[in-house]
């Protein structure tokens, strides 16, 4: 039997992991919810942003915060680019084609990154303190990531609920055609959405590069989990995505300690599948 203190530690680790997952899920969920297309390559955009921060900080010696801002800008640009070049031509296609076009982008980004930067994994080394609380250790970096993802969640919530363009984004996600009849160009709303979603990828990139090594296949480890968190949270529902991140991370973390690392993920995925049947609208929405 495992010592309860370590279960507690696992729970805390779960919370910290949820910060990482929420960062990845929030932007994707915005895009997924509004444009109704799963960007399979979303985490690979994050990967590109991570490379940017790496190069700016380690090679050109920029301060991290400035590199982070650059990463946000690059993310927004990438979001715009993906929407204009890939999503726009296939808006009317069958869902499977939409899924696969972004899947092709995934292949493209992974191999182009290999081509440009080789498969070396790169790390930004950052000496941040580690907090020790009652025999447990908390990584400062992860705490920051968690705090920023919490802020991002609140920020996006306010953006969608309290601003005019945010409301328009929600309206488009509910009925694209009706919003066109109001005089809104859906394409422009989509562009704003993709840019904001892309900027979130930039935020995620800046925070992940100080926790993980970046390499061209970075996206593979997180991709599937990120999609599932979006759906579990409810499309376009920022609070839901955050809650889903916490739920999935806790299952992964505690399951990993009690059984084994893989079984933690197995349980998380099974929970996802079952939740799809029980609460298809997301964790926070009752069937009905």
């Amino acid at each position: 039997m495992i010592d309860p203190i370590f279960l507690l530690e696992a729970a805390v680790n779960g919370i910290l992991l949820s910060g990482v997952l929420a960062l990845l899920a929030l932007g994707l969920n915005l895009i997924f919810g509004v444009v109704d297309i799963v960007w399979i390559a979303y985490v690979d955009l994050v990967m590109v942003c991570m490379y940017l921060v790496y190069f700016l900080v380690m090679i050109y010696g920029w301060p991290l915060w400035l590199a982070g801002l650059a990463s946000v800008a690059l993310g927004a640009l990438l979001g715009l680019g993906v929407h204009l070049l890939i999503i726009t031509p296939i808006l009317g296609s069958a869902p499977v084609n939409q899924l696969l076009a972004t899947g092709g982008l995934l292949f493209f980004l992974q191999s182009f990154a290999t081509f440009l930067w080789t498969t070396d994994h790169r790390t930004v080394r950052l000496a941040l303190p580690i907090l020790e609380v009652g025999g447990m250790f908390l990584s400062f970096v992860r705490l920051i990531a968690f705090a920023i993802s919490l802020l991002a969640m609140i920020g996006l919530w306010v953006f969608l609920r309290r601003t005019y363009i945010g409301t328009a984004i929600r309206a488009v996600s509910q009925d694209r055609e009706a919003m066109a009849l109001m005089g809104a160009d859906p394409q422009r709303v989509y562009l704003v959405t993709s840019a904001v979603g892309g900027a979130m990828a930039g935020v995620a990139g800046a925070l992940l590069i100080i926790q993980y090594s970046v390499h061209p296949f970075f996206g593979a480890a997180f991709g599937p989990l990120t999609f599932m968190i979006c759906v579990l949270g409810g499309l376009g529902n920022m609070v839901g995505a955050f809650v889903a991140s916490v739920v999935m991370s806790e299952i992964i973390s505690i399951g990993g300690v009690v059984i084994s690392t893989e079984m933690g993920y197995v349980i998380a995925f099974v929970v996802f599948i079952v939740m799809m049947f029980v609460r298809p609208g997301g964790l926070l929405v009752r069937r009905g």
Binding site: F6, E9, A10, T118, T123, L138, Y212, S213, G256
Partner: protein
């Protein structure tokens, strides 16, 4: 006597088969070029994890031989490169292409044990010659009685056994505990490589009566290893045995540090743990006093302990590596993978091929296999210190080099120092982890 008759019979059978397959190699012999398929991973995660360095070593050796007029002064080596892309199915496709389209006489290389296991079986069935420079899993040979596959490289199980022996030897003296009172934890990537090393750890620990408190595998693609760290903390090991590639060990070390994992010794086994530059880039001084096991990176060996002439080759390798790939690399930091590619091909070009041509009439698979079986290089006869003598057909590990051995290295003052076996050691080990290490037990 009996083995001899059996060998002759096998050779006859194989010869007959070779006639059916086609007399390609005999034609090539007249042209005096030897085509060699060089199969490594140039893309995908394995390439940065050491495969590329192996290829560099192999490439430098081929250039070296050709510059000196080729094998026996007249057979030029024509390398044909293949890229396994870090995927087993691509490795198989590339092997098919190299063997059947490019018609290479020899297939050499193979970084990943996950590729070597299926490849060896398939290539051997086609009765083609395979020379494995890097992949270490003992499963490549175990009980399969391969006839055309040879590997001068030590096996993973040997890695695992040696590292446990090392700790057992120093337990009382340095760790102030009887070996049986030590708590060992074994974690490993669950591919061919990690599994094999971990098995060696476990077997040796059992053998010596050491106490393994945790043995757990993980997948190299796991996005988070914090639960593994928590489990380790709960198990309170003195010594951690870890076998992994690179992004995964970086992730593990980072999370281990963040979560306050405390140890008295940390022992990695090659691959990611041997990439000093990567480790230092990510962790700086934190990796000081970590161990790794590998066949000895040639430049770390004292040339005086080797056979005459071998030391000069090492100097050649270092010179070429700096000229072609990394002018600023400290000599000691050149990864052992470079040596594996360089040295193990040297054994092929310098020992096996000449004998095959002079004594067995060419460099078809059978001539090569016959020549390889006669290889008998004493200890100290290669750049990595070990000798070469392959287990004979019928042996459980037929084709594996019986004389290969790895060695234990420790990062001391930012450099790899050879600390075990004691006979070849260049420095005494630092055990337990001193208090300056963030991982040191308090």
């Amino acid at each position: 006597m009996r083995t001899l008759r059996m060998m002759r019979m096998l050779l006859g059978l194989a010869g007959a088969a070779a006639l059916i397959v086609g007399p390609a190699s005999r034609v090539d012999a007249q042209e005096q070029t030897i085509k060699i398929g060089v199969l490594y991973d140039h893309t995908g995660p394995f390439s940065a994890a050491g495969s590329l360095n192996c290829w560099r070593g192999a490439k430098m050796m081929i250039d070296y031989v050709n510059e000196r007029g080729g094998v026996l002064g007249k057979y030029k080596i024509v390398p044909i490169d293949g890229d396994s892309q870090s995927k087993a199915e691509v490795a198989i496709n590339e092997a098919e292409r190299l063997l059947n389209v490019e018609k290479v006489d020899i297939l050499a290389g193979v970084y990943s044990s996950a590729h070597a296991v299926p490849l060896a079986e398939k290539v051997d069935r086609q009765k083609k010659f395979l020379w494995i420079t890097t992949a270490i899993s003992s499963k490549v040979f175990d009980g399969r009685n391969l006839q055309y596959t040879f590997r001068p490289q030590p096996t993973g199980t040997q890695f695992g056994e040696l590292s446990v022996q090392y700790i057992a030897d120093y337990a009382q003296e340095r760790l102030k505990k009887a070996p049986k009172d030590l708590r060992l934890a074994i974690i490993y990537e669950d591919g061919a490589y990690g599994t094999d090393v971990a098995l060696g750890n476990e077997l040796k620990a059992k053998d010596l009566g050491l106490n393994v408190v945790l043995k757990e595998g993980y997948s190299i693609n796991a996005p988070d290893l914090s639960s593994l760290v928590t489990k380790l903390r709960a198990a309170r090991p003195d010594v951690l045995y870890h076998t992994g590639y690179n992004p995964d060990i970086s992730l593990f070390l980072r999370q281990a540090k963040e979560q306050g994992l405390r140890l008295r010794a940390y022992i990695g086994h090659g691959a990611g743990h041997s990439q000093l530059d990567k480790l230092k880039e990510a962790f700086g001084k934190d990796v000081e006093f970590f161990h790794t096991l590998d066949p000895i990176a040639s430049q770390l060996l004292d040339p005086k302990k080797l056979r005459p002439g071998v030391g000069e080759l090492t100097a050649e390798m270092v010179k070429r590596y700096k000229a072609q790939y990394d002018a600023n690399a400290p000599t000691a930091a050149i990864a052992p993978h470079v040596s594996m590619g360089f040295n193990n091909l040297w054994v092929l070009f310098n020992d096996v091929l000449p004998r095959a041509i002079q004594k067995h009439g060419g460099f078809g698979p059978d001539a090569l296999a016959a020549a390889a079986r006669e290889t008998d290089i004493p200890d100290g006869g290669t750049m990595q210190g070990y000798g070469v003598k392959f287990y004979p057909p019928g042996h459980r590990f037929a084709g594996q080099n019986a004389r290969a051995f790895p060695a234990v290295f420790q990062i001391i003052e930012g450099k790899f120092e050879l600390v075990y076996p004691k006979a070849v050691a260049t420095a005494p080990p630092v055990l337990p982890l001193p208090a300056s290490s963030p991982f040191a037990a308090r």
